[in-house]
């Protein structure tokens, strides 16, 4: 029966929308998290030619035959790159981007291969370099290597001095007297087309492979980016929006489930025509 199939197909799609919303809510405290929105679209429409004699149709407005659809689906799940609120932390190695299309270049090891990633998470740390106890490198809080403006990992001598991120987007090492010993600019890029990015998990994005992006113009290195220091960009999830969407989604799911049970009852009526 068509109505039961329609209902069953769309219920699984509404379930996916609920999953997206709960993922947003779960990440309400994640630094630099960008919320996702699931949007619906119609499925195909089927035409039934139920008139044997089209010429005998009197008072007809629409073209011959009847057409109705077979349900809905999630058309796309879009990532919303709106700026989150800036929270002051006072930590020297924390920084926040002021612009929604600025990202930090990081290197992620996946299956033994390094992959170019981009993140908004400005909570940086110094991690030991494998094999050399005298060196440390700048990494994100998940341990991904941060790239400098030259594309290479930022390696500093261990115990070299106080390390902080300065407002001009660089890792700066200060000596005993407060003088600058070393200054390495961070690999900050501007993504002019955020639609080419896809989420890799762990707050890192990468360019979706094979979608025709022109990397030379779409991801532009920034040399003098201004960042907010001692602060972090919070998640851009708004709890009131997500709760409203959650309620709408749940009620929709309920309405569809009702049509499913009623369709089942109709089938029961047909089966009980003759006891």
């Amino acid at each position: 029966m068509q109505s039961m199939l329609t209902a069953a197909t769309t219920m699984s799609q509404v379930q996916q929308q609920l999953d997206t919303i709960s993922n947003n809510i779960a990440n309400i405290d994640t630094t630099g998290f960008k919320k996702k929105l699931a949007n619906f679209n119609e499925l195909l429409v089927q035409q039934y030619n139920n008139q044997l004699n089209p010429a005998a149709e009197i008072g007809r407005n629409t073209p011959s035959g009847i057409r109705y659809g077979v349900g809905g689906k999630i058309g796309d799940v879009s990532t919303i790159f709106l700026q989150g609120t800036i929270q002051q932390t006072g930590r020297a190695m924390d920084f926040a981007f002021m612009n929604p299309d600025q990202f930090l270049s990081v290197s992620v090891i996946q299956n033994g291969q390094p992959i170019q990633g981009y993140t908004k998470d400005g909570s940086l740390q110094l991690s030991p370099v494998q094999g050399n106890p005298n060196l440390v490198q700048v990494t994100t809080s998940d341990g991904y290597t941060v790239n400098g403006a030259n594309g290479q990992p930022i390696v500093l001598p261990a115990n070299g001095g106080k390390v902080s991120i300065t407002g001009d987007g660089a890792v700066t090492v200060y000596g005993q007297g407060g003088n600058v010993i070393q200054r390495i600019p961070l690999g900050i890029v501007q993504v002019t087309k955020p639609q080419i990015l896809e989420s890799m998990g762990s707050n890192v994005y990468r360019v979706s492979p094979g979608n025709g992006a022109n990397l030379a113009t779409d991801i532009v290195p920034l040399n003098n980016a201004q960042v907010q220091t001692g602060a972090l960009e919070g998640s851009n999830v708004q709890l009131e929006d997500e709760m409203t969407n959650l309620i709408v989604s749940q009620r929709h799911y309920q309405a569809i489930a009702r049509t499913l049970t009623t369709g089942d009852q109709m089938y029961g009526l047909i089966n009980n025509l003759r006891q």
């Binding site: 109505s3 769309t10 195909l44 149709e57 407005n61 009620r251 049509t259 109709m266």
Partner: protein, 276 residues
């Protein structure tokens, strides 16, 4: 056989089609730009019933008499399913690629007995022109403005709209890319929306892939385009669920009629002329 049998069965099929249609409406309650389907049911042509009397005697030349009983319809069927083009509520999303089409002054077509309607123009993969009310667009990696299926949104010049930088869309549909004018959204006007057929994925089309005129050149048609807003589905869950329940109960009533027809036939077949 008893005429009622076929009537009741046709009634059940009609209500089943209605239920399928209402279910589809309910499943698309969250689809932007979705237009609810409405059905019209028509009775099959009438036939005249005459009761032949017993006054006449054969082979005597005296006329056979009959009394007119009246007209009887022989069941009903779903004649048409048409979309209800009333505007759904406008929701603010803040996405720069979401566009809402707000109808201003739309003339009433007295011949077709309907108001006209405005649509966005898109082009599918085969190059055919399609129309849609769903303003939730995306930018693909090459900068084309597309629907979620990937169909390109066309401008007034018939070319896809391409944006490489920051997109701004004005009230009359002009598209600016980093403050440079790159095109104008083609808003098509249909004076008789009954002629449009649904294709699926939120698209409408005319027979033979015919083209609708653009609303910019049409007198007495005004509209506004709002960026950052999207028009939602125009279905009302309460109304659809109520209609759905009515269709189900009609289905049940037809089923009861069918059962009682069955019992009558049972008597006619098994009990008439039975010798005790």
């Amino acid at each position: 056989m008893l005429r009622g049998f076929y009537d009741a069965a046709a009634g059940m099929i009609t209500q089943q089609r209605l239920v399928d249609m209402y279910t589809n409406n309910i499943t698309n309650a969250q689809t932007p730009g979705y237009k609810a389907d409405r059905a019209s049911i028509r009775a099959f042509p009438e036939m005249m019933l005459n009761a032949y009397g017993t006054m006449g005697v054969p082979n005597t030349g005296l006329p056979q008499s009959y009394t007119k009983v009246g007209a009887l319809n022989t069941a009903a069927y779903v004649q048409e399913i048409s979309a209800d083009f009333s505007t759904g509520s406008i929701k603010q999303t803040g996405l720069s690629t979401d566009v809402a089409l707000i109808e201003g002054n739309i003339p009433y077509n007295a011949q077709a007995k309907t108001k006209g309607s405005l649509f966005f123009t898109v082009q599918d993969a085969q190059g055919n022109i399609r129309y849609t009310k769903d303003g939730h667009f995306q930018l693909d990696s090459r900068g084309n403005l597309t629907t979620p299926e990937g169909y390109k949104v066309l401008g007034v010049n018939g070319q896809p709209i391409v944006v490489q930088g920051t997109m701004k869309i004005t009230q009359n549909g002009q598209v600016y890319d980093n403050n440079q004018l790159v095109g104008q959204l083609n808003i098509a006007f249909s004076s008789n929306p009954y002629l449009l057929k649904k294709e699926g994925n939120g698209l409408f089309y005319l027979d033979n892939n015919a083209i609708l005129p653009t609303a910019l050149n049409t007198p007495n048609v005004t509209f506004g385009v709002s960026q950052g807003y999207v028009e939602q589905s125009n279905i009302d869950l309460g109304q659809e669920t109520t209609n759905y329940m009515l269709a189900y109960r009609s289905f049940e009533a037809n089923q009861r009629v069918l059962q009682s027809m069955d019992k009558s036939l049972d008597l006619a077949v098994n009990s008439v002329g039975k010798l005790q």
